[in-house]
């Protein structure tokens, strides 16, 4: 009897506010009178109200529709130095993920390929130009005068120039926590805004402006906008979508959501091509700049 009463007292109804504040939700998307008279609309609203901090969702600069149809071909990256805590910890995290769930193995990015992505661009070669849509063709017209090799060389010049102007010393960056792009399709390790992050940000802005506006290259996203530098850790490729679904399940990375991946010092900026293999498992580097 006593036990039952105590359970009653500690029961859900009596352990807090009578109408808990997180349940007080009015959905303005419904028609104004719907909830009162016609129908009772029930939903688990807290799921929609979860913030980006909970879901890890991060806003990358969004490419316009014409640009989204074109596959990116090249990207700017900071290759990880040899002997770097970031790589070791990502490796540990991968091991933990595989231990908890065998199936995720094809999703994980191999450790040799880890890099900090500073920007993605599509530089059209002959095959790509044919596949482009009408909106893209205007873009092509700007760059048509030069061959892709020329274009890459001039991009490299821009990057050199920007690096010389902005980066005086090797970039020390900190990586902590996981984030997600594209509704959970891409899982990455965040570069937090401490240490030399602002220098990096200036650099990225400068390069995007020079390359995107000056050369008229299709940097994905608005060239006036900055890019969120990140280290991609796992992702679902379009070919894997049928097998793995649209998003990396949160349950496999939630334990590492705020994991500290350590500091790293970078002294090189690479312009890499996405297709083709480089040496020891890394992407094929088109050109690189020393900081």
């Amino acid at each position: 009897m006593l036990l039952r009463r105590s359970r009653l007292l500690s029961g859900r109804s009596e352990r807090g506010l009578y109408f808990p504040i997180n349940h007080r939700i009015v959905d303005q998307r419904n028609a104004p009178q719907a909830g009162t008279e016609e129908a009772d609309i029930q939903s688990r609203y807290r799921r929609q109200l979860r913030t980006s901090f909970i879901t890890g969702e991060t806003r990358q600069t969004e490419a316009p529709a014409w640009s989204q149809r074109v596959r990116p071909t090249h990207f700017l990256s900071l290759p990880l130095p040899a002997r770097c805590t970031l790589r070791v910890r990502v490796k540990e995290m991968h091991d933990a993920m595989i231990f908890s769930d065998q199936h995720v193995r094809p999703l994980l990015i191999p450790t040799a390929k880890l890099h900090v992505t500073l920007g993605v661009m599509s530089v059209d070669n002959g095959a790509g130009a044919a596949a482009e849509s009408q909106e893209g063709s205007k873009r092509v017209a700007v760059t048509n005068g030069r061959s892709p090799a020329d274009l890459l060389a001039s991009i490299q010049d821009c990057v050199d120039q920007a690096t010389r102007d902005i980066c005086k010393e090797p970039l020390q960056l900190r990586f902590r926590g996981l984030g997600v792009f594209g509704h959970g399709r891409v899982l990455f390790s965040r570069c937090i805004s401490e240490a030399h992050f602002s220098t990096l940000d200036n650099l990225v802005r400068r390069i995007r402006r020079d390359v995107g506006l000056g050369l008229g290259v299709d940097m994905k996203g608005n060239p006036h906008d900055s890019y969120v530098p990140h280290v991609t850790v796992a992702k679902i490729r379009p070919s894997q979508r049928t097998e793995f679904g649209r998003q990396v399940p949160m349950s496999i990375w939630i334990n590492h959501q705020h994991h500290d991946f350590g500091d790293a010092t970078f002294n090189k900026i690479d312009l890499c091509a996405m297709s083709g293999q480089g040496k020891d498992g890394y992407y094929s580097v088109v050109s690189s700049t020393d900081i």
């Binding site: 807090g16 506010l17 504040i21 997180n22 913030t51 901090f53 401490e194 500290d260």
Partner: protein, 312 residues
């Protein structure tokens, strides 16, 4: 209605100039003369040493009212916050330091506000703590933050961290090293009793120290027994012999010398045989007599005040 208007007097007239108290003849403020000079008294209900409250005891008439408290203090919105922000309503923006982030997504912010004493023409700043919501756990203890009022977020949260004006860089570094952002304070709130910290010395003395501490607590519990007389309490009952009684009354007196043999009195004063006990009947009678004597006395016989006064 009648009764309300009954008391309203033209306040500028003297008492003898009053004609009618229903109307103001030429206008003016209709005031109701509340009788301020009434002799409010405090009725004491408790003994001086037994008030049913632990901390604050209450022995006199207390001044009631919040705005009417004297010396009068009033909220003073002309402080730093209002210099910086243009607030849609008072207290919608605050600047304060983060003290405590032990709750998830909640920063405790200590912010100041001003209180003005018109009597002394001076301002005082008071501190209050607010719970502020920071969604991504960005705050570290010691940050200077700008918090804003928002909708109710939880039972005690109606502020959110709008911006971090000055991050505690050192605290963040400490957190990165795995330490606490701010070292915890050495002392807690003040306590009234002496706290005995044990085990500061070697392991041998510990038991004795513990015994001493417990002894102290027992001593403390003895205060509920009230004041203790110096001498041990021995009751003077009928069964006590004369010598015992004598010892109780004058413990340091020299020993009574025994009477020489043969001189013992055969009878006590009232003619009873010394050796024999009283019978039960006699006992009752004596008891009754004593009670009559002590309890049926009239006060004036008990205490003769007149003679008391007259005595030199």
């Amino acid at each position: 209605m009648l009764r309300q208007s009954f008391l309203r007097l033209p306040w500028w007239n003297f008492q003898t100039e009053h004609r009618q108290r229903c109307v103001m003849m030429y206008g003016g403020a209709r005031t109701k003369n509340t009788h301020n000079a009434n002799h409010r008294v405090y009725v004491r209900k408790f003994k001086r040493n037994a008030f049913p409250n632990r901390t604050r005891h209450h022995w006199a008439v207390s001044m009631t009212g919040v705005q009417g408290q004297r010396p009068r203090r009033m909220p003073w919105p002309y402080d730093l916050t209002s210099m910086i922000f243009n607030q849609p309503r008072q207290g919608s923006d605050k600047i304060g330091y983060v003290v405590g982030t032990s709750m998830l997504k909640t920063a405790v912010v200590a912010a100041n506000h001003m209180v003005y004493y018109p009597k002394f023409n001076q301002r005082v700043s008071r501190t209050s703590r607010f719970f502020a919501h920071d969604e991504d756990l960005a705050c570290v203890e010691g940050d200077l933050v700008h918090i804003k009022q928002s909708r109710k977020i939880s039972k005690y949260k109606h502020y959110y961290v709008f911006s971090i004006l000055e991050p505690n860089v050192e605290g963040r570094e400490r957190l990165k090293l795995g330490l606490k952002a701010v070292p915890p304070p050495l002392f807690g709130y003040p306590v009234s009793r002496r706290v005995v910290k044990l085990n500061l010395t070697n392991t041998e003395g510990t038991k004795e120290k513990l015994a001493a501490a417990i002894q102290e607590h027992v001593q403390d519990a003895y205060r509920f027994a009230g004041p203790t007389p110096d001498q041990p309490r021995a009751k003077l009952t009928d069964s006590a012999s004369f010598d015992d009684a004598n010892k109780m009354i004058a413990p340091n007196a020299p020993e009574t010398t025994a009477l020489p043999h043969g001189e013992e009195p055969a009878f006590l004063g009232d003619g009873q045989a010394a050796g024999s006990e009283f019978s039960e009947l006699d006992e009752d009678g004596r008891q009754k007599k004593g009670e009559d004597y002590w309890m049926n006395l009239q006060p004036k016989e008990k205490y003769d005040y007149k003679s008391l006064k007259k005595s030199p």
